[in-house]
Amino acid sequence: MIRQPLVHLASPSRDAYRVDGFRFQTQDKKDSQTSVAIVSGLNGHELAQMHVAAQLVNFLKVRQEADPSFITGDILVVPAVNSFGFNMGERHWPLDKTDINAMFPGYDAGETTQRIAHQLFKQVKGFEWGVELEDRRDQYDCIPYVRMIKSGFEDAQAAKYFGLQFAHYRDFVPSDAGSLQYNWSVWETKSYGLVFGNKQQIHRDSTHQLLDALIRFLAKVGAIRTQIFAGYDTNIVTQEAITLIPAQHAGVFEPIQIVGSFVQKGDLLGKVFDALDGSLKEKIYAPVDGLVTCHYHYPLIYQNTIAYRMISIG
């Protein structure tokens, strides 16, 4: 393992800004040589994402030390890009509040976060595979899933290598234009977003689940030599399979069904109570049969906000 400095920037007052990557490369010319970049923590709230990436670094390091032939490709893991944000509970770049993950491919003569994106992208482009670990930007608790953006350079079948329950295969939207995942695909890296975790929290179970998914992926593309349990036979889901279920009223939201539940049409999903007099304002029912993929997870909900997301097959 080599620890590589990828980005460096002086600060006005605080410590210098640094982004480090961890590189694992086979020395054996007969190996696959496939290359994978895994980038995490582009936003400072993505604690679970950083932790999974760091656990992966540790796993690869221990296994490589025990068996030098374990690594069969070229793997770069970047656990935390917005370390300044992590150190102060800020999602975005702390001075100007811009989103590093909206600045790719970056610009070396531009604004600060464009320069950061430029320095980072120089180091993470050109890989055969790119995986971005990400949280949901909104207030939802979701089943971990793979996100693919239609770009003409995605490999939908390989999304199954992670072995997660489903992969969301969606159209490009304008806000994707500056994201790492999208820009990877523009530069001909097959890229995936792994979306999981609750904002600013780390859960042990999902850490293990996602660590397994990354190891499975690395094994299937031929970057490491290992045995691992098979995961799910991933369902690739497009927009038509998704049902959005809003709360008609605002108040205190109580989810009843947890994510991962299979429910039938008419099942009670959640309740909304008046925040002040405590009366029950609304019961939210499943409009279709299907799998609960996400629910709103903050206790207070605004009117017409999506309370549940479900997917249905067939």
Partner: protein
Amino acid sequence: MLETLVSIELPVGEHYYLKRHRFTPVDVSADNGKRISIISGTHGDELEGIYVISLLAEWLKANPSLITGTIDLYPSLNSLGIDSITRTVPFYQTDLNRIFPGTAKDTFPNQIAAGIVEAIQGSDIAIDIHASNIFLRELPQVRIASTYRDSLVPLAKQLNMDFIWVHDAITVLEATLAHSLNQLGTHTLVVEYGVGMRLTPTYGEQLLDGLFNLMAEQGILAIAPRSVRVPFYSDQGEVYYVNSPAAGLFVPAMDHCQMVVKDQLIGHIHDPYGVESPVPCYTPGAGVLFTLREYPIVYEGSLLARIFDDQKGVCV
């Protein structure tokens, strides 16, 4: 007439209301059928537009017989943000001007965006007033995506602004209010001036004159057109950027919006500990300094100034 167009229930005993103040002709036969919407407060830390709109409302209340079209005023779209010095939509931390056209059944910011588009669409003209942010001070200017150059530049010239900046169409800007409205056939001009969290009353009064002139030219007010400034126009030169070469404290050595010559000192970047000597920064060419950094703390890359000219150079 103050109207409530959208009502969204908030969790604890409050509503978000999208309100507009609508002025129509007293004498219906005087109505030329045109409708203009004047908008501000998409970003909660931008207050310049609120001032102009309040001045305009005062004038319209005092001169109802001069109104010959429909004038809709929307001063505070992101009202929770305006009342709390929050640029984004509070709680969601969403930039409202990056999620248009929005959707009615989705997050709070998306509902607001959808409500705004629904309310304003059908207007002939919309003026979306922005005030930069807390970092940069801007000369009064109109920004136009090149896609809409032909229809919007003639209108922009009526607005008494100093600068018309036609920029390339960028994918991320497809999610702005102006883009959504232009797509729906409302000629929408983005006006930008001043600085975030502050008021620059002289600029506000300059825009007010421009609005009077535009509405006179469009037959929405029965008044004589005002004499307006001839703006400089980005197609006849080049905009270039001066980004900070170092981290530290930026101390400007010149005033905003003045004519500058090449190699003039813009300011210094000071090292707070004084280990490094202050780094001087010079103008790359002659022209008008239409953007100047207001907030002193900078990293490498922070924008210090923008100059409009046809020459190009480098900041050292």
